[in-house]
């Protein structure tokens, strides 16, 4: 049974607290009133993966073969090879699975296929691999359908909830860089003609804080929220639109505060942040190829750097001219 302690653990992981140290012991686990005919489900030893499977198996009599994936989830571990052919074979042998069950079948989550070669597992340890659904919540339908996945069960999605659940980790990850940028911008806000004015620094520093905060929120929340609606396929381009949305807010909020050159400077800083953060959201997404990301980075990163540098220079220039 999953307890409040499991739930709290999941919340902490989602907030990036000690996220990489949330694992269970590899080995064989029993669920329900299992016997020698019960199906064997293969899982990673990341506790969130383990708990999801355990929860969805409620009421099913089964075995869980937990691999040593160093506490990493199925898909990412399969990409690295820790959830892989060798580990499956080793774990089957380590627990003497052939003595525990009479059948010779392993149900491997489909996303594990990135690291597992079904034909090799069968040749090496005699167990045939059946690929189960992507999502644990389809397991009962999969079992009821004679261990066959429907095209729908095989598809990885990136729905609103999938996108929003990664937002807290993204915020925690980027917050320190945003804070450094704010400090830097506030410090250079004090340059006025021929001198450094701390009153001007505080005055314009508030605008700098607003610019970075808005861009940060747009990059970390607006982009995931509106991802399918933002025009363009490249994520950096999607981020550009999120940045322009911020600009509309500046025009409205800061009508008499940021004008002319400083407004332009704020916009340039904003789009460099939102575009960069959106581009980095490719890692959270479930459908971007490495070749695609490399192509996107080649044109986006130089433009993002240019936009940021131009924005910072203009921010100083606008302060010097005004005073």
């Amino acid at each position: 049974m999953l307890t409040w302690r499991d739930f709290l653990g999941a919340v902490r992981v989602r907030l990036d607290v000690n996220r990489m140290n949330y694992s269970v012991e590899p080995g064989i686990y029993a669920v329900g009133n299992q016997d020698g005919n019960s199906p064997v489900f293969v899982s990673a030893n990341y506790k969130l993966s383990f708990d999801w499977l355990r929860k969805e198996l409620g009421g099913v009599d089964a075995w869980m073969l937990v691999l040593d994936t160093k506490g990493v989830n199925v898909w990412c571990a399969a990409g690295k090879g820790t959830f892989g052919t060798d580990e499956v074979i080793n774990r089957v042998r380590a627990v003497s699975l052939e003595k525990i069950v009479s059948h010779r079948r392993l149900i491997v989550p489909q996303l594990g296929a990135v690291g597992v070669a079904a034909h090799v597992v069968r040749k090496e340890c005699g167990f045939s691999v059946v690929y189960g659904p992507v999502r644990a919540c389809d397991i009962k339908a999969f079992l009821a359908g004679g261990m066959k996945t429907t095209p729908e069960m095989r598809r990885v999605r990136f729905d609103l909830v999938d996108r929003l659940v990664v937002v807290p980790v993204e915020i925690v990850h980027w917050l320190k860089y945003a804070a450094l940028l704010v400090i830097g911008l506030v410090l250079i806000s004090g340059f006025s003609s021929g001198s450094y004015d701390s009153a001007v620094m505080l005055d314009r520093g508030v605008d700098a804080l607003m610019v970075v905060s808005m861009a940060f929120l747009a990059g970390s929340i607006l982009v995931p929220l509106l991802l399918p609606l933002l025009p363009g396929r490249a994520f950096s381009l999607k981020g550009l639109w999120a940045g322009l949305a911020c600009w509309a807010v500046y025009m409205f909020l800061a009508e008499n505060v940021m004008t002319g050159l400083s407004l332009l400077a704020g916009l340039l800083v904003t789009i460099s942040i939102t575009s960069f953060m959106a581009m980095n959201f490719t890692g959270c997404s479930t459908f971007t190829s490495q070749a695609g990301v490399k192509r996107e980075m080649k044109f986006a990163i130089p433009l993002q750097i240019l936009s940021l540098v131009a924005g910072i220079v203009l921010w100083v220039v606008s302060g010097v001219i005004k005073s």
Partner: protein, 95 residues
């Protein structure tokens, strides 16, 4: 949602294909389907280069340069961080 077009490295050698259909089963984006005993690529642009198809093809009819489509991982790699994405220290993946 579809990512950039005409960029992925996925290659299918139809001559080698025995039509076992495992590529269709393991692909998370429905790139393959088996028609008349041979696999066909329905939509290349949906491919995310995860490599599950190539890994599970018993006759090695599929080739793809696998890698994680993660800008943070690629940037870390360029900055000498090893290029690792998920897991371990300095990771970026949310799940």
């Amino acid at each position: 949602m579809k990512y950039l077009s005409e960029v992925v490295s996925l290659k299918l050698d139809v001559g080698e294909c025995i039509g076992c259909g495992l590529c269709e089963v393991v692909c998370p984006h429905g790139v393959f389907s088996v028609r008349d005993g041979k696999a066909v690529v329905c939509d290349r642009d949906l491919c995310m280069e995860c490599g599950a198809c190539a890994k599970n093809c018993p006759v090695e009819a599929i080739a793809v340069n696998t890698g994680v489509g993660c800008a943070t991982g690629l940037i870390n790699g360029m900055l000498g961080g090893g290029g690792a994405c998920c897991g371990e220290k300095g990771s970026c993946c949310g799940k």
